[in-house]
Amino acid sequence: MMKKIHELLDDINMEDENIDIVESNISKEEKNRILEMALKKAELKRKTFFGRKSILPLAAAMTLILSFAAVFAQGGLSNIYYKLFGDNTKYVREMGTVINESCSSKGITLNVASMLGDENAFYIIFELIKDKGESFENSDYIYFDRLSLDINSSGGYTWYQIEDDDKNDNKATFILAGNTKKKVTGDKLTLRVADFTEYNTKEPVNKFEPYSFLVNNQDFLEQVLVENLQKSTRDIENIDNYSIKEKEKVEEMYRLTPNYVLPWKYANIPMEDGIDEIFIDNIGFVENKLCIRIARSNSEDYSLGEIYFVNTNNSEEILYADFMFPEEINDINYYYYIYDIKDMEELKNYSLYYDIVDKLNTTIGEWSVTFKADYKNTTETKRINKEVTIDGKRYTVKNIKISPIALNVELKNNLSDKYDDPVHELYGKVSVIMKDGRKIEPSSSGSSSNSINTSINLMFNQPVNTADIGKIIIGDMEISYD
């Protein structure tokens, strides 16, 4: 029963009303955080960093683990930088500072250990330290329920846990990489974290083997397939303003989405002894692909980590799912994985690998550390003031700012260009070429726009010697760098 007027409108369709409301201001940084959260919740994003990839399909646990060896001090900075950048650390020795500012609560200390950066881009190493007698022994990775960095301008950042060499110690180490639109050097920053959960991942003791299972259960190979009702009709031909590239992408997604899928089998095949929360509903071949429908109930205790096939004759050949789509029925999430394995003859050569992720515990609390980005800014600025065209839009390149870790390009938008599409397509439009012809691989890139200005930040995968940079390409412009 309801008697509040606003409740009467809960189920009323207002889609045809002419609703005009004021939009809130929202910064690029805020948008980035919202998008990051949405992608994590939707389990859509595969994070990449330093050229290595990892995905843990548990939404709350998409943390890339980097592996490092022994402790190594390098020019007063944390050994972590040396392990991240190897010999190229020599190019960033002047750019870092030890911070060691911390905050303790509930037996946990958050310590901001060090920072390294240029005018707009930075790396921050921070640690969680448990009180003496406690350790992170069983936890393979940690996920923060909330983590934010207060910075004075718009920007974006991402963070990763770094695998500890000493699993028995009481410290877990993380790196946060970010960039800002305005100068960050000399600013006060605040790192806030709240409520973190520790997870353990392990391979199952009694692993599910698709080949032997299907050999022993021939009925799974003779199933009547059903039409994939999730496949939408393809109507892009009627949309005029799609670019060729976008049409190709839509076509590709359409091609990957199967026309037919396995029926609901309710087979309940376990993936690990004693764990009822994760099981296989059905497995079989559809349209010359191996398909597996895996159920994951909404249990907080267990989830499925990485899942992939390895060629038993060549362990370097790893097959991840070509395509995956989720379905939810009666509070159970089903994930339909499609692998490029066409039949039993091919499957004979592949073995399935997966991890079970076990939630260990959640520590409730809030920690925040304010510190100064007090490092030497070695950024070199070059004034350009030339017009450039990027993806059909005109800009004026005002300045380029370069350091061994990143490139920042400041652009002025051309206000006389009236385009129907106000979105700035800047991804992949800037590159750095070394004198020996090598193209520098970015570890991350981002852009920030308002109606007048745009800036593009490119963080390099590895630090570079700026003296070895040959040219910088921005849209249709080449700037020789010497």
Binding site: M1, H6, E15, E17, I26, A42, K45, R146
Partner: protein, 183 residues
Amino acid sequence: MNDAKLVNLLKYNPSKGLEAAVDQYSGLVKTIVVRIIGYDKQQDVEETVSDVFVELWKSIGNFDPEKGQLKNFIISIARFVSLNTYNRKILKHELIPLEEDDLKFDVDLDNEVSKSINKEIIRETINSLPYPDKDIFIRRYYLFESVKEIAQYLDLTPKSVENKLYRGKDKLKAALINNGIII
């Protein structure tokens, strides 16, 4: 980006689609979210805004461009998600003062049959309200706009908006009863 393109991206390339949707509609969604859950913690606002976009992705198959605009579809999701977040809060502020929001009689929206009939009556009653009463009603009770904001938007005095809301509420009550609402 136009709506058709965005809908297709959400269907076929969800990561890109979400990116475009957040870029285009996060300001709008934030307005709704802040109106409903308040702005005590920025983190909570961002969490809820991100929930709205996840729901948008999940339910994009239900969007029918023949029935209305994508913007309104997103507003309805933002309202639904924000009210859920609001209802989970322990310490709640008042969305609309009770004397303004209270219809003074119960309407059955629990039973499926009466819900369907009552929804139709509510919709017809709202549609029958004259201009600008209908706008005022939707802005106040659907979009949770303040009286001051409505007054500014419609170029009326706050007192005039309050009077229209008061009279509108009486009209609604009478119309609901006359049209045979199930209580």
